[in-house]
Every structure is written in C-alpha cells, then in structure tokens.
Amino acid sequence: MNIFVAFVLAIISSMLMDNVVLSRFYGICPFLGVSRKVNSSLGMGVAVVFVIMLATLICWPFYTYILVPAGIPFMDTVAYILVIASLVQLTGLFIKKYSPSLYKSLGIYLPLITTNCAVLGVAQGNTDQGLSFLDSIANGLGTSIGFLLIIVTFSCIRTRLETANTPKAFKGLPIALITAAIMAIALVGLQGLFSGIKL
C-alpha cells in the first residue's frame, strides 16, 4: 500500500464525503453564527484550521504516551479540553506578539474556538477510533480544511440570500438551514468516489 496515496485519500474523504459540518455535525454554532460575511468566515476558518492541527499534534501523543501509561485513559475529555483552551489562549498571545494585523482580524474569533465542537470532536474521535498518528493528522487536516471550505462557501451564499426575496418567515436562519441541507445533499453525491480504488 502506498502510504502517501492513502494519506491524501484520507484527507479528501474526511474533507468532502465525511464533511465536518454537513455530515458529522461538528461546529454548527460558528457555521451559523459567523457566516454572515465572507471575510469573517475566512478568518474563523483559518483560525480553526490552525487550532485543530495543533490540537491533533498535541492530544494524540498526550493520550498515547502520558494518559495510557499512567493508567488514566478515562481522563481524556478533561485533558483535551484543557489542552484546547490553553492552546487557544497561547495562539492568541503568539499571534498578538508576532502579527498584530492578523490578531486584529482573528482576535475576536479565537475565544469562540474553545467551544467549537470540531476541535474537541477531532481530538476525541482520533483516540476513540484508535487511529494511528499519521491517520490522525490526515483526519485533522481533512476535517479542518473541510470546515474552512464549507464555511466560506456558505457565507458566499448567505450574502446573496440577504438580498434575495425570501418569504418573511424564512428570513435569516431558516433559509440558511435549508441552504445547508441542499449543500449536504450535494456532498452526498460524492459518496463512493473512492470505492473503485484499491489500496
């Protein structure tokens, strides 16, 4: 089996076929809350990619080399949420120091990432399913890029929706949710894309 091909396929499948937002339902809150403007959704998406990657890189070794040898694997949720919360704080401080302009555009979204289920969901899913370190990285990369892709696409549609002539009761969130449903149906069409590829 070619490891590189498997790695790329794992990224694409967790990015599109098994998209975080539209089929695994992680991170719906920022998906609905921060998608009114394209710029802000781009900022949120990039910040999420950054934090998910860091969280994956830290949580998996933390679980495998500290929690399991210490005999307390059941403390994983508590440990992960602490890692993620401090990671978000650190990222904020780091960006503030080295790139104030980036901090200005990302700053307000950073605290929101702590309560984004996508981050904890990926970290928890990696160890719950017993993935290897490489698979975990592929999962993290695919999931976070999938989130970025969907939130930016969705915000582009939403800016159009705002001027569209929708029924009064559907204005705002309801029509956005129906749009998300149609996007989810579109992604279902990609299922089975890799069924012919033998690894």
């Binding site: 539209l22 089929s23 695994r24 339902f25 992680y26 991170g27 719906i28 809150c29 609905l32 059941f74 403390m75 949720t77 508590v78 949420i81 602490l82 919360a85 702590t114 309560t115 984004n116 289920c117 981050v119 904890l120 969901g121 928890q124 899913g125 719950d128 029924p167 009064k168 009761a169 559907f170 204005k171 705002g172 969130l173 309801p174 029509i175 956005a176 949710l177 129906i178 998300a180 449903a181 149609i182 989810a184 149906i185 279902v188």
Partner: protein
C-alpha cells in the same frame, strides 16, 4: 433579596418556552442535528444533557464565592468536563447501546454552549436552589426540543416509531404507520436534519410574526377608534359653539 411570588415556577418555565435553548437562543445545535435520528436517541441525549447541566450548575453555584473572577471560565470547563466524564462512564457501563449510538457526542456535551452559558449567566450569580431549577427547566426544554425534531425525522424517515433498540431493558416495540414503500429516507440523512430544523424555526418565526401583526393591527384599530372619538367630540363642541353663536 426579596423574592417575588411564583418566581420558582417562572424560572422553571422560562427554559421550556420563552428562552428555549434550542429554538429561541439557537444554542447546542450540534447534538440537536446529530442525535435526533430516532426518538430514543433524542431521549437519551436529553437525559444525559440534563444530568450534566443540573450537576454542573449546582456545583458552580455552590462554588461561586470560591472561584475567582479571572479563572472562572477554565474552572467551569473543568467542572463540566468532570461531570461529562462521569456520565460517559455510567452510560458505557449500564447502557452500552446508548453509548455507541451517541458516540463522541457524549464527550461533546463539554463544549455545548448551553452548559457553559448557564454556568456563566445564571449559576455564578444565584443560589443553589434557583440554579437547580433553572438548569432543570433548560434541560427539560432542550429535551423537548430534541424530541420534537426526532419525532418528525423518525416519522417521515422510517414511517415507524421503534422503542427498545437503544434502551434494551424495555421490550422491542415497533409501530409502522406509513408503509415502507412511501417513506422519505432523506429525513434520516444529515440533509433531513437541516431541513427539519429550518422548517421548525420558520414555523416559529411565522407564529411570532403573526402575533406581532395582530398586535399591530389591534393598536391600529385602537388608534382609529380614538381618532374618530376625538373627531366626534370636536364636531360636537363645534356644533355647540355654533348653537351658542346663533343664540
């Protein structure tokens, strides 16, 4: 602090109707979409969520004078995560089917905005009993909201209501209402979850709009009536004056 009468009842009911966490505040949407495939899963999620919410609210309220202002958010998160871990282990031990159905979403109660939101907004400022009632109301309201979504999804998606698949201690009951050939399986898919949630929000918005329109209509009628009365009065005084002038 003086308590107004019936405060406890109002405190309990506000979580169910006026401040429903899912349909009014739009919080905790992830489990609402992911765990509402069947009524049973929704009940399970609702109960686990309510237990975590009540325990963490009570503990946060109990420790509200101990936890200092600067470190309160991390402290709350640790409290919530601890209760989630306890609940997770209990579910794994006693209801393994529920545990495997809900999967990672039990752990994700930690990052459910409702729990942290109630801790921050209510439990950190009020006494234990009030926080308990508030958490109970919010939990019941959230569970009812989940059930209403699961009702439509299970009914339209499978045409049947099945019990006993997840809660294995009750006998398996399955009532097929719509024949199998006519069900819309899209409602069991992720897309169906978005559609049901969107339609429920649209119906609620429609009812709210109607209420507001009716109120505006009543206000307009009242205004017209008052204007007419004023006109009549003005006419009457004018007529009186004329009469006086003729004399």
């Amino acid at each position: 602090m003086k308590r107004e009468k019936g405060y406890t009842k109002k405190n309990f009911l506000k979580g169910i109707i006026n401040e429903n966490p899912l349909f009014v505040s739009i919080l905790g949407t992830c489990p609402a979409l992911a765990t509402t495939k069947t009524l049973e899963a929704a009940i399970g999620m609702g109960i686990l969520f309510t237990v975590v919410l009540i325990c963490s609210s009570a503990l946060v309220s109990l420790l509200r004078k101990v936890i200092s202002e600067e470190i309160r958010t991390p402290a709350y998160i640790v409290i919530i995560a601890t209760f989630v871990t306890i609940v997770k282990m209990f579910t794994n031990a006693f209801l393994p089917d529920l545990y495997s159905t809900l999967g990672v979403f039990i752990s994700l109660i930690v990052v459910n905005c409702i729990v942290l939101g109630r801790a921050e907004a209510y439990a950190s400022k009020n006494n234990v009993f009030d926080s308990f009632i508030d958490a109970l109301g919010m939990g019941v309201g959230y569970t009812l909201a989940l059930l209403s979504m699961a009702f439509f999804r299970e009914f339209l998606g499978t045409g049947a209501f099945a019990f006993g698949n997840i809660f294995t201690f009750i006998p398996l009951v399955k009532v097929q209402i719509i024949p199998k050939e006519y069900v819309m399986s899209i409602f069991q898919n992720p897309a169906g979850a978005f559609i049901v949630f969107g339609l429920i929000l649209a119906v609620l918005a429609f009812i709210k709009n109607r209420k507001e329109e009716y109120k505006a209509y009543l206000a307009r009628q009242e205004k017209i009536r008052k204007a007419e009365e004023a006109k009549k009065a003005a006419l009457a005084t004018a007529a009186n004056k004329e009469e006086g002038g003729n004399k």
